[in-house]
Symmetry: C2
Subunit: 521 residues, 2 copies
């Protein structure tokens, strides 16, 4: 086949040889040769989604769990725009992701056909790596470069724009995998400087970010803490956090500025490991944007993109030789009873969370108790809303389930946020993914109710409040799920939720529970 590949075939062959095995796709006419080429490279699995935000969010979830990129297939500029919000979240998660964007044939672009647009503006917006393939013979090399760029730490979106004629042209050449640049090693001097801070006896926080929130980083940090008394925190929205019994338990930095200020009270030193100094999620009148307290010095142990885990392990060897990490003991809440509340639904999840679960957490205000009630549960991963653009949770669950078919995926999903990318349910049904979705249905943009007060927006009356109220009509997620082929039930009590959650976990394939949990706010 090598001698008569077209561009699309050489692209897919190169991607597969570079370790990219899954393509989340929502194609159009300009991508038909890519679609056709899937039959000639059976190692690439095509997963169809009905909306591009599901495509990009699934690629994000896949990349977070697989530790290597999936690719997407998107239809020109508008398809890329539709996928943009979850590419934003993927950017904040530093997820490796190869974004294949079909375009008009090069010779067709000058004619301003209806779907023509300035794709470079959109690829630029993703702040990743971008290249347009302009030569069929080099598509393979472009693809190999894209994979390497996506994988280089800390991970990024690599956009490969594929004009239709470059895709259908003959003379494609598959390329060997390109070397992934090694991360910068953290110099001994940086370790020594931090070690000195840790030895000062002054109140210090070690903040873990990208690359440091899996077992190795957490264990090293816990050893450092055990030896030096440093307090360890994880950034507010980690891309992937390993936790549960047998792992060091770490608190996350809060979402609200007030929480962060409380967590950092009297802290004199903030040591960053793959994280940045905390800033307020939004601006609020009269409140500071930077949340590092006055008089607190910021030290960078390991910058984003450096070998953060190696730095933590070397620091642990230096300041905590022979010291063991503190590991979480098993502990679960009891199964609660009664009408669902913002607290007891979380206890149900904590009581029943299965071993090895992957939790896609977009529960927002409804999920405040979740970290607490699952801390001592069986070992699991948590994937969070890294970029703050809601509508990530269900697509990320799709991608995680594709990456880890042997692990149960639990999507804890706020109602308003679910609606941005609700067709992710259809892909769950189509691929029979083992995802249990729990919708926290409080019939409001509850977080905005809270924010309306926090920003000091005076004069808000019934008109303003009605724009934050998504009841009227109430969303019936049971019908929505069934309309897309996902079996669904409704829970109004803790007992019902427990029974339905256990049943959903026991049966393979996707399920949804529409949990009528009243708003906290």
């Amino acid at each position: 086949m090598k001698d008569d590949m077209n561009g699309a075939q050489s692209l897919i062959r190169t991607l597969v040889d570079s370790g990219v095995e899954v393509c989340f796709a929502n194609p159009g006419t300009s991508e038909m040769h890519f679609v056709a080429a899937l039959d000639s490279v059976p190692e690439m699995r095509g997963v169809l989604a009905l909306f591009e935000g599901v495509v990009t969010g699934a690629a994000d979830g896949y990349g977070r769990m697989a530790g290597k990129p999936a690719c997407t297939l998107l239809h020109l500029g508008p398809g890329l725009a539709n996928g943009g919000a979850n590419l934003h979240n993927a950017r904040r998660a530093h997820t490796p992701l190869v974004n294949v964007v079909g375009d008009h044939a090069l010779y067709h672009k000058g004619f301003d056909a209806p779907l023509e647009s300035d794709i470079d503006s959109l690829t630029g917006w993703t702040e990743g790596w971008s290249r347009t393939s302009t030569d069929t013979g080099k598509v393979g090399a472009d693809a190999a470069a894209a994979v390497a760029a996506a994988r280089a730490l800390p991970g990024r979106t690599a956009n490969l724009v594929l004009p239709a004629d470059v895709s259908w042209g003959e003379g494609g050449v598959a390329a060997a995998p390109a070397p992934v640049p090694a991360p910068d090693a953290v110099p001994d001097s940086a370790l020594a400087a931090v070690a000195e801070v840790l030895g000062s006896g002054e109140s210090t926080v070690l903040l873990l970010g990208s690359g440091a929130t899996l077992e190795r980083g957490l264990v090293a940090a816990s050893r450092i803490a055990a030896a030096t008394g440093v307090k360890v925190l994880v950034e507010t929205f980690p891309a992937r956090l390993e936790r549960g019994a047998g792992l060091p338990a770490v608190e996350r930095l809060g979402y609200l500025a007030e929480q962060v200020q409380w967590q950092l009270t009297d802290v004199r030193h903030l040591v960053l490991a793959g994280a940045t100094a905390p800033v307020s999620f939004f601006a609020y009148p009269g409140k500071a944007s930077e949340l590092t307290p006055e008089g607190c010095a910021v030290h960078t142990l390991a910058a984003l993109g450096s070998d953060v885990v190696d730095a933590l392990e070397r620091l642990a060897e230096s300041v905590a030789p022979g010291v063991a990490p503190v590991l979480q003991e098993p502990s679960r809440p009891a199964l609660p009873s009664g009408e669902l509340t913002p607290q007891n639904w979380a206890e149900v999840i904590g009581a029943l969370l299965p071993e090895g679960a992957i939790v896609s957490d977009e529960a927002n205000t409804s999920g405040l108790m979740i970290p607490m009630v699952t801390a001592g549960g069986p070992r699991h991963d948590v994937l969070t809303l890294t970029g703050g653009s809601i509508g990530q949770g269900l697509p990320v669950a799709v991608g995680a389930a594709v990456a880890c078919p042997d692990r149960p995926v639990v999507a804890l999903q706020a109602d308003g946020s679910a609606m941005y990318t609700i067709s992710a349910l259809w892909t769950m049904a189509r691929e029979q993914l083992d995802v249990t979705t729990v919708i926290l249905n409080n019939r409001a943009y509850a977080i905005l109710r809270m924010e309306l007060g926090r920003v000091g927006a005076e004069g808000a009356g019934p008109v303003a409040r009605s724009l934050l109220d998504i009841g009227g009509p109430d969303l019936d997620f049971v019908k929505l799920a069934e309309g897309m082929g996902v079996p669904a039930t409704r829970a109004t009590t803790a007992e019902e939720l427990a029974e339905q959650f256990a049943a959903a976990l026991a049966e393979p394939g996707p399920h949804l529970i529409d949990a009528l949990v009243p708003s906290l706010i």
Copy 2:
């Protein structure tokens, strides 16, 4: 109130004074002061959508029907990205639209908070007018300028980026409406040149585009045709086309290059009125991009943005003084019977289309017969998929219904396309809009099945075909609609469709019919 307005209040007051009465919104924290300000300017109607693609598509539909802009309210870069695809369609429709994009406070932008992104890349992509308000005292003036820019012919998206501190700051000043630049008048010399072409006796086509597809333009073109024998065509995807009994009937240029070539066979002159010379929607191997035949001269009567209707009327006075237009006689198909087919469902619509209907047509392959069977029906408007980015039809129907509450809206909607912006149904229910949606449910991306063959993609096998098949699981649009508060029924025969369509039209508020129409392809 004038002396103590904040920026948001001055913005909304100015918009209202400039004729902008509706805000389609999907807000977040950075937009809370805008939301709160809605209570202080009750003339602005806020319409909530659950996804930004519905917001922008609704603003497009509103602008097409109202002939003036609605505004949007979007949440930072990711919200704008989510609205991007339907802004692309609005750009191709030349719809006046004021896009209000909230952003972080100016002083907060440098801190790279999670939702920070390069909004200018995205506003630039829309190829409209863009400005960031940086001074609370000038927000009103910026808003007035945005409305004027949006309204200047041929119409465009005006992006107004509103940082949160500029919005909440005190010292807002409402501005008077800014003058809308008058369109260029077409010079007599251009009319004379076209008149000479029309007098040549050679085969000529007059192609009508933006501004020329409503009654005045159509009547003038028909008079010119009656006097000179010129053939009148409308561009493939008009933003708004008036048609039906009592109006001149005009054929649209085809979607497929082969259709256009047939329509333009032996044509020696192509005269453009608000349109551009036809190009192929996509590129196909070995086929031309430009569809103007060899040896056909292209003449511009009136360029986009000039006073196209005035030019047509003056030309009619010159070449067809006293000549009457040819008006369509009333005629309707008979009500068909039997299992639904790609033909008979259209006949049902043709037989029952109500007087004054607004038809949002995203029926795609299923809708090929619709223009024919509705040509002699009662007078109606057709809104089409101008930019080719699917997922426009339901949001445009929302906007049209808000703009024209006294007219019935009929959304003819392909199944695959519906899923991009399906939550438009919820806004229809919330606002109790009189929209009857007919889903053409063939359980496939049928257009892509056709295109897979047309692009000559060889080697496509079961994997490729499965990516164009959106059955498995079948989408149940009755459940999806009911899940969002829209009453729904399913039709499998022409009789059922007729009964359900008539019942839906007879009752106010939204309805959906899931019509199981087999694929043509």
